[in-house]
């Protein structure tokens, strides 16, 4: 999986859990919460969907890695590739 593919996976999850949000022009380097109406429960939803759909575990101490699309890709892409 490439970083761009990983970002697409995360955006698809966000589109599902935050259906009122327009995820078409999210800036990768900017924090997701600065661009989208996401709360703490939404981030737990992202963690849960990664677990359910992709078997990826994000420990609580690493939640900060999900702040932006870039940081998501940097953290998650190796995990996806490791589990593949």
């Amino acid at each position: 999986m490439t970083n761009e593919e990983c970002k697409k996976v995360v955006l698809d999850i966000i589109a599902e859990i935050a259906p009122d949000e327009d995820v078409s022009d999210v800036t990768s380097s900017v924090a997701l919460r600065e661009q989208l109406d996401l709360d703490s429960m939404d981030f737990l939803d992202i963690v849960m969907e990664l677990r359910k759909k992709h078997g990826i575990e994000v420990p609580e101490s690493e939640y900060g890695q999900l702040a932006s699309l870039d940081s998501c890709a940097a953290y998650l892409t190796p995990l996806f590739n490791k589990s593949a």
Binding site: I17, A18, P19, D20, D37, D45, R51, K52
Partner: protein
């Protein structure tokens, strides 16, 4: 002590046969029921009353996804009631607004869904949703409404089995009279049609209705009645002290004249006509009314074989020699809306203050002789000479009884 007079100034509702008071009332007068068949997990097809209100009218898609059906019903009804009241809600001090939502139960639906969810993952609880607790706390239906309407006053549920719709209103009256709030949004809601456990429980009890025609399945007082049709729905009212309502020139649907709540203390599920009789009489006493002052009695009758007979015994006792008192029932149209039942059924009769028309109990092809009350309105509406007061019965499991009296408003 002189108690404040409390009036109804707005109504918001959703029922299986209408999403506004006008639509609901029109269908009651037209004999139009709203029961259907749905697929129920583990059970196959069951009969149920389903509402088709637009949840997205007042909620974002995420709020609907994260919240509960009961929360959506509360929000829809509360918003509709507030709009109907004509109050300047934006300009109101939200600390002085109370939300009191009657519920039969809450949390069954969400818990069953989560158990089903983790069953897809070999019952590994790490897949159990973090939304479970906020969805299942018993104040959820009122809490979601407080979030949506930005109400910062007291907002909570009143658990009272199937008497809960009346109890929400009773509690609002008390809080307005105590001066705890200045404006109350109150009534009852139910999401029970999404819980297989509710249906399976009634079926095991021998109290779940079945009929080849869904709209004929709920048939209180008929000899062939065979149980309850479970429904979802909600009805919330806005209530105010009379002086506040008059000050802003509010439309007044009626005045809460009296109420009473008591308990059977005799059985988990079987009703007790003696306590029901006492409940209705105590409500009349509180209203300083005689039985003959009541022109419509909305019976709670759920179409169980014994329950209908026992309530009829109680009504017969209280309303003996009351030739101008009509008896009707709403469950033939919409089934049993559980925590919403009392509030919805009251709403169905409010229009009679204007048109003097008493909607009938429907689906009575052969009246059970033991339910043959004088002036029981069957299958066709009746135009009464007067409709000045309505007594609304709502009873529930564990023996909770409520009777609420609403009278035509006059200075």
């Amino acid at each position: 002590m002189q108690l404040s007079r409390i009036v109804i100034t707005g109504v918001g509702l959703t029922s299986p046969n209408g999403n506004t008071l006008d639509e609901f009332r029109s269908n009651l007068l037209a004999g139009q029921a709203g029961v259907t068949r749905i697929d129920m997990r583990y059970m196959g097809q069951v009969l149920a009353g389903i509402c088709d209100f637009d949840a997205f009218k007042y909620q974002k898609r995420k709020e609907v996804r994260v919240g509960t059906r009961a929360g959506s019903i509360s929000i829809y009804c509360a918003r509709e009631a507030v709009a109907d009241s004509g109050v300047d809600f934006d300009g109101m001090d939200k600390n002085r607004v109370g939300i009191y939502v009657g519920t039969t139960e809450h949390g069954n639906v969400e818990t069953e869904n989560e158990v089903h969810n983790i069953s897809q993952f070999d019952y590994d609880t790490k897949y159990w949703s973090h939304h479970h607790n906020p969805r299942t706390v018993s104040n959820n239906p009122a809490g979601e409404a407080s979030l949506n309407l930005k109400v910062t006053g007291p907002a909570y549920t009143v658990g009272a089995a199937c008497a809960a719709g009346n109890l929400g209103l009773v509690h609002a009256v008390q809080m307005l009279r105590l001066g705890e709030v200045d404006f109350a949004i109150a009534g009852g809601v139910s999401e029970s049609v999404r819980s297989f456990g509710i249906f399976a429980g009634f079926k095991s009890q021998g109290a779940l209705a079945e009929h080849e025609d869904p709209n004929k399945a709920s048939r209180p007082f008929d000899t062939k009645r065979n149980g309850i049709v479970v429904s979802e729905g909600g009805c919330l009212y806005t209530l105010e002290r009379l002086e506040d309502a008059q000050k802003r020139g509010a439309k007044i649907y009626g005045e809460i004249a009296g109420y009473h709540v008591n308990s059977d203390a005799t059985d988990y599920v079987l009703p007790n006509p003696e306590r029901q009789t006492e409940c209705m009489r105590a409500a009349l006493d509180r209203a300083s009314m005689k039985a003959s002052d009541i022109h419509i009695v909305n019976a709670h009758a759920t179409a169980t074989p014994m329950g209908d007979i026992q309530e009829c015994d109680a009504i017969r006792t209280v309303f003996a020699d009351c030739p101008e008192t009509y008896i009707n029932n709403t469950k033939g149209y919409i089934g049993h809306a559980m925590g919403a039942a009392g509030a919805l059924e009251l709403a169905g009769n409010l229009g009679a203050f204007d048109d003097l028309t008493v909607h009938p109990s429907i689906n009575v092809d052969e009246l059970d002789p033991k339910c043959a009350l004088p002036n029981l309105v069957l299958n066709k509406p009746v135009v009464a000479k007067r409709v000045d007061a309505i007594l609304n019965n709502s009873f529930g499991m564990l023996g909770i009884n409520s009777a609420l009296i609403v009278k035509r408003f006059s200075e």
